[in-house]
Symmetry: C2
Subunit: 183 residues, 2 copies
Amino acid sequence: MSLKHALLGFLNYAPMTGYELKQHFDGSIRHFWNSSLSRIYPMLGEMENEGLVTMEMQVQDGRPNRKVYHMTQAGREELQGWLRTPLDQQPVREPFLIKVFFGANLTKEEILAELRQKLAFHRGLLADYRGPVREGMKENIEATGLKRDGLFWRLTLDAGLKHVTASIEWLEESIRKIEELDE
Amino acid sequence: MSLKHALLGFLNYAPMTGYELKQHFDGSIRHFWNSSLSRIYPMLGEMENEGLVTMEMQVQDGRPNRKVYHMTQAGREELQGWLRTPLDQQPVREPFLIKVFFGANLTKEEILAELRQKLAFHRGLLADYRGPVREGMKENIEATGLKRDGLFWRLTLDAGLKHVTASIEWLEESIRKIEELDE
DNA sequence: AGCGACATGTAAGCGGTTACATGATTCT
DNA sequence: AGAATCATGTAACCGCTTACATGTCGCT
């Protein structure tokens, strides 16, 4: 259950509402994770029941009360325990490669169109990682002054960069090979 | 719904039972897809209801009857349609990177242990792709004589190779960076 | 006047895993 | 004697997505 531990990870920096947690997700880890509020809210409720967090209600009028969640000692232990337990490797699952695998059912131009579209998308991703994502991360590190943490944050971005780069290379090579096919 | 179309893709080569389809999955696309029999059987039933396949019962005794599924014209059209429709890009989801992101909660040695384990696993994967997976694919191409199809099959393997290689490089570099940290 | 930020949720459905159920035949 | 292969499924549960529901405040 990774969502739970991602939430604990952020709450370990500071108490927050579900809404703010979602913003941290989008601002810090969107290059490898995403979650919707409709999952976050119920999950925080469960975590409260399990005693991993406590909830502090801040009454507001005109809009729903803020529910600020605080890490408990049990929560800190749960996070530590999870971090120390190796994840079991989850199987690869690439729907796109199913299309490629059965690509012989399409014409050369049809399959090329698909690959070119994917290539454009991945080039966009690369630009995003090198630009806004990298900048956001830099700002977070400067704003918090967390240098040791910052090293790990950067590693996750490096992972993203390696993977998009690999995808782009593969797409370029694949397009070349298919273009050489005579139909 | 990729499982459905992967099944149609294989049934397009030859009529088969669910059990045999599972073997084809494991023998041809396990480097990017996997599925369990407990999903395949109900899915074939649905596909029959939708008219994408027909079922031919081969009575056996001592074991369950073989249910051989045949592609219909509607099935062929469904497959073509799916192959021609761009997939919408599904979001990245890397639980492992959550652990890295919050790695500052662990000691240097704890996080290194995790990364080294992952590295060993990925080196194993690489050996598998270069060995048995590549061999199996070659045999499939020779046995069926499907050269054009074989090109696409190989592309999916290339994708796998690119990605594991990228992961290995990232792990090696990350390990080096963390080792340089003084605690 | 309309949109985005703020702030919380519920309900239905989907695709998947894991465990359970059965049982003969062939290989080691 | 025990494991793998052949061959089919059902049931419970799980994490996630999408759609629905509500309503204010501030900016353009």
